[in-house]
Symmetry: C2
Subunit: 101 residues, 2 copies
C-alpha cells in the first residue's frame, strides 16, 4: 500500500492542504488526477492521507517530469478549480529525496 | 493548521506508514514525540495526516538537526517499539526542499 520507489536521488512533490466543506466534485477530480499522474513520464509513485489536513506526496524521476505534469492541461484546470473551490489553504513543496530507509 | 516554513532550502523527513490494529499506546507516543520534536534544535514544523496510511512530514533546518533528532534517546526507544508493535510497514525519506509555493 505504500509507494515503492527506486534508489535515491529522485524528487518528491509534497502537497499539504486543508479542504472546504463538502465534496463538490473533489473526489472524482482527485481520482482522475491520480489516474493521469500514473501515466505521466517519470512518475514513480504516490502516498496520500487525509484527516484534519490532507497530505499527498508524489515521487518523480526528475524536475523535468514534475514540470511536464505541472503543464498538463487537465491538471492545470483542476488546480484552478482547487484554488477557488476545494482548498481552504495549501502548500506545495518540491524536494530532492537523498536517502530512503 | 498547515506548517509554515522559512524560504527554502531546508529539509523534509517524509514518514509514510501502515498501522497494526488497535492503539496499543500509539497515540500517547505520537503526541509525546511531537512535543519532543518541537523542542529540538532546527525543528521548523510538521504536517501529519492518517487515513488508510499515515504520512508525517517534519521540516528541519539542516541534516545535522535531523541527525540530532534521530539520536534522541526517547525517540530511538519509540522507533524500536514502532518497528515491533505499531507499524505494519513504513518508509522514511530524507529530502532537501528546493522550492515552496
Amino acid at each position: 500500500m505504500l509507494a515503492t520507489t527506486p534508489k535515491p536521488p529522485y524528487y518528491a512533490v509534497i502537497f499539504a492542504s486543508t479542504r472546504t466543506e463538502g465534496d463538490n466534485g473533489y473526489s472524482a477530480m482527485a481520482d482522475r488526477m491520480m489516474e493521469l499522474a500514473k501515466n505521466q513520464p517519470g512518475f514513480l509513485g504516490v502516498d496520500t492521507a487525509r484527516s484534519e489536513i490532507g497530505i499527498t506526496v508524489s515521487y518523480w524521476q526528475d524536475l523535468k517530469s514534475i514540470e511536464l505534469w505541472r503543464q498538463h492541461s487537465e491538471h492545470q484546470a483542476a488546480k484552478e478549480k482547487g484554488k477557488t473551490n476545494w482548498y481552504k489553504n495549501y502548500r506545495l513543496r518540491i524536494a530532492k529525496v537523498e536517502q530512503e530507509y
